[in-house]
C-alpha cells in the first residue's frame, strides 16, 4: 500500500516513529498530483516549493527533538477562499486574480502552528456560489469517480483532491452545503461545524451569518483530527464562540451508547434518487443493528429552507461583495476603455460609476452577478419586509424545528443530496435545479447547527452516495463519534476511484 493511501492519522504515526519523513510524504503527494491533477483539476495552484520547504523544516525540527504540532509534517490543501499571507487568494474569481492578502486567515495560522504542510489551493465555485465548481473563473474540476461529472461545490476541489489521493486533508467552507455536498459526491468525509465553532477571520465572505470553515478527509478519524486543530474561539471574529474544544481525535473512537436518531420524512419525498434513498435507508438499518433507536421527527419548516436561504445568502452577499468596486481591491476595468465607452454611448453617467459598472461586469461571473442582483433587490426599500425580514422569521422557525428535534433525538440522519454527481454542464443553464442541490443541507446553515457527510454506498454506476448526520450546536463530538461507529461497521470509505 502506497503511503498516500494511508490515512493522515496513520501517516502521523509513521512520521513520529521516523519511518517516513515529511519531505518523502510531501513528495509522494506532489508526484500523485503531477500524475492525476490534469484529469481532475482540483487545484488552482500547487505550491510545491513552499510545501517542500515547510516539510523539510518540520523534519529538521523533529530531528533535533523539538516538540511539534498536532499535524506535524502532514500535507493539507486549502480552499482558495482562505486568505494566506503573501499567497494569491483568488476565491475562484477573476475579480481577485491578483489579490495577495497581507495576512493569514485564523485557520491558516492554526494549521501553521500545528506544523501542517500547506500543499496548495483548491478550486471552487466563484465566491463559493455554486454546487458544481463549474462557476470557477479558472477551470472546472472533474469528479474523480467519473471525470465527465462534476465533483459538487463550492468546495469541489477540496473534496476531489481527497478522493483522488492528492491530499490527505483539506479545508473547505460551507454556506449552504458546500462542504457536505461535494464530500458526498466525491465519496469522502466533510464536516460543517456549528456556526461560531471555527473562526471566520480571513475567510472571504459570501454570506457571513451562514459561512463556516470545516475539514474534509477520507475518514472520520482524520476529520476529527483536523477539526481539533481548526476549532476554537478567536478574538478577531466577534461571532466565534468561546467554548472549550473537546479532544475530538481521542473521543472519536468511543461508540455512543443509547443513540437516538431522528428521521425526517420529507427527506424521502418526491425527487430523491431511488438508489440514494435505498443506501440511506440501509445506513439507518446499520445504525439500528448497532443499537440505535430510530424516531420519526417533524421539521415543519424545512420545506422553506431553500427559499429562505436564497433570500438571506444573496442579501448578505450583495453587501459583502460591494467592496469589489475597482477602487480598492482586486480587478479594475481599464481606464481608457471606461472613457472610450462613455464617449461612445454618450451616457451622462460619470466615469466613476461607469468604472464601477464595468469592473463588476467584467470581474464577476454570471452566478455571482445573479446573486448580487437578487440580494440587492430583496434589500431594497419596499421589498425588505416582504423578503429579508420574512426570511429571518422563517430562519428562526427552522432553528426552532431543530431545537424541538434535538429535544427528542441525539442526531438527525438523512441524505446529503437527492442525486449522485451529475454530468458537467447538465445544470449550468438551470439555476433553480442547481439551487435544489442544497435541499438537505441549507437548513443546518440557517439554524447554525453542525452536519457531517460520510460515504454510505455507491450507485450501480459506481458513484458515491453520502449520508448526512446533523447535531445540535457544539455537539461535533457526538457527530464524529456516531460517524465513526458507522465507519467501523462499513467499508465504503476504503474504496478508491480508478484514475490514471
Amino acid at each position: 500500500m502506497s503511503i498516500i493511501q494511508k490515512t493522515a492519522t496513520e501517516q502521523l504515526a509513521l512520521l513520529r516513529s521516523g519511518e517516513i519523513t515529511s519531505v518523502e510524504l510531501t513528495q509522494a503527494y506532489l508526484s500523485r498530483i503531477n500524475q492525476i491533477e490534469p484529469a481532475v483539476g482540483a487545484f488552482l495552484r500547487v505550491e510545491s516549493e513552499t510545501a517542500l520547504t515547510q516539510a523539510a523544516e518540520v523534519d529538521r525540527r523533529r530531528e533535533i527533538g523539538e516538540t511539534l504540532g498536532k499535524l506535524a509534517g502532514v500535507p493539507v490543501a486549502i480552499k482558495d477562499i482562505l486568505c494566506t499571507k503573501d499567497t494569491p487568494t483568488t476565491c475562484g474569481s477573476k475579480m481577485l486574480q491578483n489579490f495577495v492578502p497581507p495576512y493569514n486567515a485564523t485557520v491558516v495560522e492554526k494549521l501553521r502552528s500545528a506544523d501542517a504542510v500547506i500543499l496548495g489551493r483548491t478550486n471552487m465555485d466563484e465566491f463559493a456560489m455554486g454546487s458544481s465548481t463549474e462557476n470557477s473563473a479558472y477551470h472546472p474540476t472533474q469528479n474523480p469517480w467519473d471525470t465527465s461529472r462534476i465533483p459538487g461545490g463550492s468546495s469541489g476541489g477540496a473534496a476531489a483532491c481527497i478522493s483522488a489521493d492528492m491530499a490527505p486533508l483539506s479545508l473547505g467552507t460551507d454556506t449552504g452545503g458546500s462542504i457536505r455536498q461535494p464530500a458526498a459526491l466525491c465519496g469522502c468525509v466533510g464536516l460543517k461545524p456549528t456556526y461560531g465553532r471555527v473562526s471566520r477571520y480571513g475567510l472571504i465572505a459570501f454570506a457571513s451569518s451562514l459561512d463556516q470553515i470545516g475539514p474534509l478527509a477520507r475518514t472520520v478519524e482524520d476529520t476529527a483530527l483536523l477539526m481539533e486543530v481548526l476549532a476554537g474561539h478567536d478574538s478577531l471574529d466577534s461571532t466565534s464562540v468561546d467554548t472549550p474544544v473537546p479532544a475530538y481525535s481521542k473521543s472519536v473512537h468511543q461508540p455512543l451508547e443509547s443513540l437516538t436518531l431522528g428521521v425526517v420524512n420529507q427527506h424521502f419525498g418526491e425527487g430523491i434518487d431511488p438508489e440514494i434513498e435505498a443506501a440511506v435507508k440501509q445506513a439507518i438499518a446499520t445504525y439500528t443493528s448497532l443499537g440505535a433507536t430510530i424516531k420519526n421527527i417533524e421539521m415543519p419548516h424545512a420545506d422553506y429552507g431553500i427559499a429562505t436561504y436564497y433570500i438571506i445568502a444573496p442579501c448578505e452577499a450583495s453587501s459583502n461583495l460591494a467592496r469589489y468596486d475597482g477602487a480598492h481591491h482586486g480587478y479594475r476595468a481599464d481606464h481608457a476603455e471606461v472613457l472610450a465607452e462613455l464617449a461612445e454611448d454618450g451616457s451622462d453617467e460619470g466615469p466613476l460609476v461607469r468604472m464601477y459598472r464595468k469592473t463588476r461586469s467584467e470581474g464577476f461571473g454570471a452566478e455571482v452577478q445573479r446573486r448580487i442582483m437578487l440580494g440587492t433587490y430583496a434589500l431594497s426599500e419596499g421589498y425588505y419586509d416582504a423578503f429579508y425580514l420574512k426570511a429571518l422569521k422563517v430562519r428562526r422557525l427552522i432553528r426552532q424545528d431543530y431545537d424541538n428535534a434535538f429535544g427528542e433525538v441525539d442526531l438527525i440522519i438523512g441524505p446529503v443530496t437527492a442525486n449522485p454527481a451529475f454530468a458537467k454542464g447538465e445544470k449550468t443553464s438551470d439555476p433553480m435545479a442547481m439551487y435544489l442541490e442544497d435541499l438537505y443541507t441549507v437548513t443546518a446553515n440557517l439554524a447554525g447547527v453542525a452536519g457531517i457527510s460520510l460515504p454510505c454506498g455507491f450507485t450501480e454506476s459506481g458513484l458515491p452516495i453520502g449520508l448526512q448526520l446533523q447535531a445540535a450546536p457544539f455537539q461535533e463530538e457526538k457527530l464524529l463519534r456516531a460517524a465513526q461507529m458507522f465507519q467501523n461497521a462499513t467499508d465504503f470509505h476504503t474504496r478508491r476511484p480508478e484514475l490514471s
Binding site: 495576512y103 457571513s208 448578505e316 480598492h328
Partner: protein, 490 residues
C-alpha cells in the same frame, strides 16, 4: 429675526468624533494628521476576509454622552450596514445603527447670554454610533486628473446626535452647537476640534411662512460642510433667505420637491447644491452579520452615569446659588470649561469673597488669558497667589485701579501681592489725615466749592487730581466722597 416674514425651523445632525486611541472596529490609531493611509489595517481597509471587532471604549463614551443628554439607553442594540458605493468607503457599506440605536429621546437646554432668544429645550431624537468614512480629494476637472483617497480616518468612531427640528433661528442653532461642544468638553469624550473635523454639523432647514391661506412650509434642505460656529449661523441665515426667495419665485412647498442637499461654501458665503452620492438614497440597511448585538446591563449604565461628573447646566446653577454669582458671570466662567471653574472655586474659597472672586476671574483673569492666548492651565498666578491680592482689596488696602496695577506687576515679576505693594510704595492713608488733606484742598479752591454748590458735582474732580499729587496712595473714590460731604455741609 423677528422682522423676517417667516419662521426658520432647524434640526441639527451632529457628528462627534469620540476620543478613543483606536478605531471603532479595529486597533488602528485615530491620531489626526498622519501621512495618508499609514493608519490602516485589513479591517478598516475592508480587505476580503477581515472582520470587525467592536471597541468597547467607544461604546461607553457614546453612552456617557447620551446619558448626559438625558437619553434613554436601550438594553439591546445592534449594528447595521448602510450600503452605498463611494471611493472613501472601502467596504461598500458603513457600519452604523439603524432601527435600534444605542440611545433615544433626550434633550439639551440652551439659552442666550446676549438675550437673542428665549431659553429653549431642544429635544434629541437619538444618538447612535457609526464608523467614519475616509477622505476623498478630488480633482474636479471632469474626466481628467486624479482623485486621491486617504483612509486614515476610515473606521474612526463617530457619535451621531440627531435633534428634533426644535430650533427657530440661526442663533439658536449656533448656541446649540456651542452648548453641545461645551458638554462634550466637560464629558471629555471628544477633542471637539471643528477644524480637524472631530465635530461636524449638518442642518436640516426649512421655513414656516404665514400667508393669507395659512402657514406654509418650504421644502427641507440639508446643509453640509459647516465647519465653525460662525458658518453654522451664517449658513442657516443664508439658506433661509434663499428659500424665501425661491418660494416667492416658484411657490413650491414641502412635499413638492425632494429633499435637497446643499453644501456651505465658506469663502463664497453661500450654500450650493451638491451632487448626490446616489440618485435617490436607498441604503438597503440590514443587520451586520459580522457583529453581535450589544447587550448592556443596568450596572454598566450606572457605572457610566456615575462617571459623568458635574455638567455645565448644573454648574451654572451652583455658581449662582452657592457662590452668589450673577447669571452672566456664572455663564461666562462655566462656558470657559471645567478648569476655569475649578480655578474660580479655589480662588473664592481662599479669599472668602465669592462675588469679588467671580468678578476678577470673569474680568481680569479672562482678559489676560485672551490677550496672551493661553488657557487657565498656563496662567501664571495660582488661586492662592491671586487670593492674597483680593484680600488686600477686601481689607480696603487697595482700590480697584491700584489692585489692577498690582495684578499686572505680579504677572510680570512673579512676586507676591504684598511685595508688589511694598515695591510700589502703596500705603493705606489714615482716614483722619485724608480728611485733613481734603479740607486743605477745599480751602485752596473756593471756585470748586461754588461750582459744586451750583449743582456741578463733576467739578470735584479737580480736587481728586490735586489730592493724588499730594499723596499718590489716596483712594480717588474716598477723596471724592469726603470732599462732597464737606462741601454739602458748608
Amino acid at each position: 429675526m423677528s422682522d423676517a416674514p417667516y419662521e426658520i425651523v432647524v434640526g441639527l445632525e451632529v457628528h462627534v468624533q469620540l476620543k478613543t486611541n483606536t478605531k471603532l472596529f479595529c486597533r488602528c490609531s485615530t491620531k489626526f494628521g498622519k501621512p495618508p493611509n499609514t493608519q490602516t489595517c485589513p479591517v478598516c481597509l475592508g480587505m476580503p476576509g477581515a472582520l470587525p471587532v467592536m471597541n468597547k471604549k467607544a461604546y461607553f463614551l457614546g453612552m456617557k454622552t447620551a446619558l448626559a443628554l438625558h437619553c434613554g439607553i436601550p438594553k439591546f442594540t445592534k449594528w447595521d450596514r448602510k450600503n452605498y458605493f463611494y471611493p472613501d468607503l472601502p467596504k461598500g457599506y458603513q457600519t452604523s445603527q439603524f432601527d435600534l440605536p444605542m440611545s433615544e429621546e433626550g434633550y439639551l437646554d440652551i439659552q442666550s447670554t446676549k438675550d437673542e432668544f428665549e431659553p429653549r429645550r431642544v429635544r434629541i431624537i437619538r444618538a447612535h454610533l457609526e464608523e467614519d468614512a475616509g477622505k476623498s480629494m478630488h480633482d474636479e476637472a471632469a474626466g481628467k486628473g486624479d482623485s486621491r483617497i486617504d483612509l486614515n480616518r476610515t473606521g474612526t468612531p463617530l457619535l451621531e446626535i440627531v435633534s428634533y427640528p426644535d430650533m427657530r433661528s440661526a442663533a439658536e442653532a449656533k448656541v446649540y452647537m456651542q452648548e453641545l461642544r461645551l458638554l462634550l468638553t466637560y464629558l471629555d469624550v471628544s477633542d471637539c476640534n471643528m477644524q480637524e473635523g472631530s465635530l461636524r454639523c449638518d442642518a436640516n432647514v426649512n421655513l414656516h411662512i404665514p400667508t393669507d391661506h395659512g402657514v406654509i412650509a418650504t421644502p427641507i434642505v440639508e446643509i453640509k460642510n459647516m465647519n465653525s460656529f460662525r458658518s453654522v449661523e451664517r449658513g442657516i441665515i443664508y439658506e433661509a433667505r434663499r428659500q424665501y426667495d425661491v418660494w416667492q419665485e416658484t411657490g413650491k412647498v414641502l412635499g413638492e420637491l425632494p429633499k435637497q442637499t446643499r453644501g456651505w461654501d465658506d469663502s463664497g458665503q453661500v450654500t450650493r447644491a451638491q451632487r448626490e452620492k446616489e440618485e435617490s438614497a436607498d441604503y438597503r440597511y440590514f443587520p451586520c452579520p459580522d457583529l453581535v448585538p450589544v447587550v448592556v446591563t443596568d450596572e454598566q449604565i450606572e457605572k457610566v452615569r456615575s462617571g459623568i461628573g458635574e455638567l455645565p447646566a448644573g454648574l451654572r446653577q451652583r455658581l449662582q446659588s452657592d457662590f452668589g454669582l450673577s447669571t452672566y458671570t456664572a455663564e461666562v466662567i462655566v462656558n470657559q470649561g471645567r478648569a476655569l471653574v475649578d480655578y474660580f472655586q479655589e480662588l473664592a474659597e481662599a479669599c472668602g469673597d465669592h462675588r469679588l472672586a467671580g468678578n476678577w476671574v470673569q474680568g481680569e483673569v479672562l482678559r489676560i488669558l485672551k490677550d496672551q492666548e493661553v488657557s487657565i492651565d498656563d496662567f501664571k498666578l495660582t488661586p492662592s497667589q491671586l487670593a492674597e491680592l483680593l484680600k488686600l482689596i477686601q481689607a480696603g488696602d487697595l482700590d480697584s485701579s491700584k489692585a489692577k496695577d498690582v495684578f499686572t506687576a505680579m504677572l510680570e515679576s512673579g512676586k507676591s501681592a504684598a511685595d508688589i505693594v511694598e515695591d510700589l510704595g502703596i500705603e493705606r492713608v489714615d482716614e483722619g489725615a485724608l480728611e485733613d488733606l481734603c479740607r486743605m484742598l477745599i480751602e485752596r479752591n473756593q471756585r470748586v466749592v461754588e461750582d459744586v454748590k451750583g449743582g456741578n458735582e463733576k467739578a470735584v474732580g479737580a480736587l481728586i487730581g490735586q489730592a493724588k499729587k499730594e499723596n499718590p496712595n489716596v483712594n480717588p473714590g474716598q477723596v471724592r466722597q469726603i470732599c462732597l460731604d464737606i462741601i454739602q455741609n458748608m
